[in-house]
């Protein structure tokens, strides 16, 4: 679960990390007041979970409180569904530094990444000039070691006062990373001011979804999803991703669903939604189909190859869902696995198209979608 910047900064501040003075506002009027509270000039930052906000024009500088209100109105009227802005005091910036902590799976250690020349294009830099990103590793059972910090910061070329603050910052960020079961704790950028103080300019904290049961402080809300449907599916425990094509996937298993997604694209089709109703959700055919029907798709493609999730149970679920929901668009099924013979007999008896080859099923679905488009 990714936290909003304002939430991450709230956590950072509690951990003793310096963040700019800031107030969250959910309306232009609130932003005007917030600007007065933090002082102008100030920054108005859209609270959005996607990256690249600056490039989208969703992070702006306001010279006056009125301007902060106006910018907030613009940002909230944009097509990105912004509901809150963070109004923040402007920092004076002498240097921008990239800092993050994530889990490195080979060593199974926490990895500190530090880039003294900033991190606007950190992913690009990781590809083209990886030597500019300094790395240090932390064994979870030992915690941050002075030696690692000496080596990491020694290579960064900071002045003595900045280096000392960076040490503390890394220690506190690691503490946050551990305490919040983070997948990623990132500050991009860390501001170094002309007065040589260190401030967290941004804040990103992603909590591991598998650890949410012991992180009760934050809960996923509608704001964490790009669409109503994604939120709805998540509440039902159904993995779902919204796309903008016309073929709804209703498949079982993450790997198989992803492979079907690729096959659709190879065949010139476009996916409307990724949806898994396999694994523990295999009895949820009706809910899954309802979600697919809410999409503006022209065909539903059902592909499963289950072992524990029995084919006959899945087929029965699909047939019942059809009886109840009376889908207004064609269905292509390719249901295999445990008890598949029974499944196929039942599907045929119910008059459903029943294929047994994934690639053939994909081609059929793509053909239906094309046919619908040409109508």
């Amino acid at each position: 679960m990714k936290l909003f910047e304002y939430q991450a900064k709230e956590v950072f501040a509690e951990q003793g990390i310096t963040v700019p003075r800031g107030v969250v506002a959910d309306s232009p009027e609130a932003a005007r007041q917030a600007a007065r509270d933090v002082g102008v000039p100030c920054m108005v930052k859209a609270q959005l979970l996607r990256g690249g906000r600056g490039k989208l024009g969703l992070v702006k500088r306001a010279a006056t409180a009125d301007e902060a209100a106006r910018l907030t109105a613009d940002i909230m009227a944009s097509s990105y569904g912004v509901r809150k802005v963070l109004v923040e005091a402007c920092a004076h910036i002498a240097q921008e530094v990239y800092l993050s902590i994530s889990m490195e799976p080979v060593s199974a250690k926490a990895m500190v990444m530090l880039c003294p020349s900033g991190g606007v294009e950190i992913e690009e830099l990781a590809r083209t000039a990886p030597e500019k990103i300094l790395k240090g590793y932390i064994a979870l059972e030992e915690g941050v070691s002075g030696r690692m910090l000496d080596k990491l910061l020694g290579a960064a070329g900071f002045s003595a006062p900045v280096e000392a603050q960076m040490r503390t910052l890394i220690e506190r960020l690691y503490q946050t990373f551990r305490q919040y079961d983070a997948e990623l704790a990132e500050i991009n950028p860390v501001f170094v001011t002309p007065e040589e103080t260190v401030v967290a300019g941004d804040g990103k904290l992603i909590i591991d979804d598998n650890s949410m049961f012991r992180q009760p402080r934050f809960e996923k809300t509608r704001e964490h999803y790009a669409s109503d449907m994604e939120f709805e599916a998540a509440k039902q425990g159904i993995p779902y991703i919204q796309f903008d094509g016309d073929i709804s996937l209703m498949c079982a298993g993450a790997g198989l669903t992803t492979a079907v997604y690729d096959l659709i694209n190879y065949e010139g089709g476009k996916v409307a939604n990724y949806l898994e109703f396999g694994g523990p959700h295999y009895t949820k055919a009706e809910t899954a189909m309802r979600i697919c029907l809410e999409n503006r798709s022209s065909v539903i493609l059902i592909v499963t190859f289950g072992t524990i999730a029995r084919a006959d149970v899945i087929a029965e679920g699909v047939i019942k869902a059809c009886e109840k929901l009376r889908p207004d668009r064609p269905l292509v099924t390719c249901i295999r696995g445990t008890n598949e013979e029974e499944a196929h007999a039942a599907l045929k008896a119910a008059g459903l198209e029943c294929l047994t080859d994934t690639e053939e099923a994909v081609r059929r679905a793509v053909a239906y979608a094309k046919e619908a488009k040409s109508r």
């Binding site: 799976p105 199974a108 012991r214 992803t258 690729d262 072992t307 445990t338």
Partner: protein, 296 residues
């Protein structure tokens, strides 16, 4: 032939009295696995389908010489169960739990490595050597998937494994050992750590990797080939070739981030190391035939 374990390896099942644990333990035994004991804290002294049950894994090691542990406990208790097995001296552990906290998985991998042990999983169906033994939850009733043979399979997925392995079988081959390393971002054991076992196994002629976007496991396998540490034919099928960057496709580990983990990079790495990459499941069989000849 098999890697990791065979039908003589004494196996203890942790969580043996649970619904899932007892069900799959019966299937493991039906498939040849030598289950010598079970563990459920608080149920020591009892029996489960004729298997003695103990409170602690150490008792299963002392009394029955258990060398491998199959863990059927919920994700939040997995770390303790794995540590218990490691502390008892067990060197091979398979855990199927889907949802192990990330930081705990890091601790599990660390402790296993410092003990010279191997933890396979989580978020996997486990490991099966058809006709020999099985640790996990694989059914034997799908003959067109779990057929004995000489092709090793390593996978990050469950359902996709059925799809791809059925193509291996349709092409006239069977499986030596199928090892599910799991779909999490930190698997206990990585592809490159299993490849040397397949290399050494006289019963394996080629290996199929079922991978996907995210992480660097496929690249590490390619690196091993480049270094000459794996010399048998390798065929890969990778899911998520057309997935948009930054989108997590189902599995926790299936996301390209930080400039790493795209399928494009993986294909380049594998192909330049001499592996054959199938763009769709049905091509896996064709490429295997190309690599091995039809005469197997």
């Amino acid at each position: 032939m098999s890697i990791l374990f065979d039908n003589k390896t004494p196996v203890v099942v942790q969580g043996v009295t649970g619904k899932e644990g007892s069900y799959w333990t019966r299937h493991m035994r039906d498939l040849g696995t030598n289950v010598v004991a079970g563990v459920t804290p608080g149920k020591g002294g009892g029996e489960q389908d004729g298997i003695p049950v103990y409170d602690h894994a150490a008792e299963a090691v002392e009394r029955h010489g258990a060398q491998a542990s199959m863990i059927f406990v919920p994700p939040r208790f997995t770390k303790n169960a794995v540590f218990e097995a490691l502390d008892a001296g067990i060197k091979l552990i398979v855990t199927i739990a889907d949802g192990i906290p990330l930081h705990e998985m890091a601790e599990i991998r660390t402790r296993a490595r410092s003990n010279g042990a191997m933890v396979i999983g989580g978020n996997t169906s486990g490991v099966i050597s058809p006709g020999v033994a099985m640790m996990g939850c694989f059914p034997y009733w799908i003959g067109r998937v779990y057929k004995e043979g000489r092709v090793g399979v390593m996978t990050r997925s469950g359902s996709l494994t059925n799809e791809v392995t059925s193509m291996v079988v349709a092409a006239g081959y069977g499986v030596s050992t199928l090892a599910g390393v799991g779909g999490d971002s930190i698997p206990g054991t990585r592809f490159a750590e299993l490849l040397p076992l397949y290399e050494a196994d006289p019963g394996t002629d080629a290996v199929v990797i079922i991978g996907e976007l995210g992480g660097t496991m496929e690249e590490e396998a390619a690196e091993l080939m480049r270094k000459g540490a794996f010399t048998k034919p390798l065929v890969a099928f990778l899911g998520g070739r057309t997935a948009p960057a930054g989108v997590r496709m189902g599995h926790a580990g299936a996301i390209a981030t930080g400039g790493k983990g795209s399928v494009k990079d993986k294909i380049e790495a594998l192909e330049s190391a001499g592996a054959l990459v199938a763009d769709r499941p049905s091509r896996v069989g064709v490429l295997l035939r190309q690599a091995l000849g039809a005469g197997q």
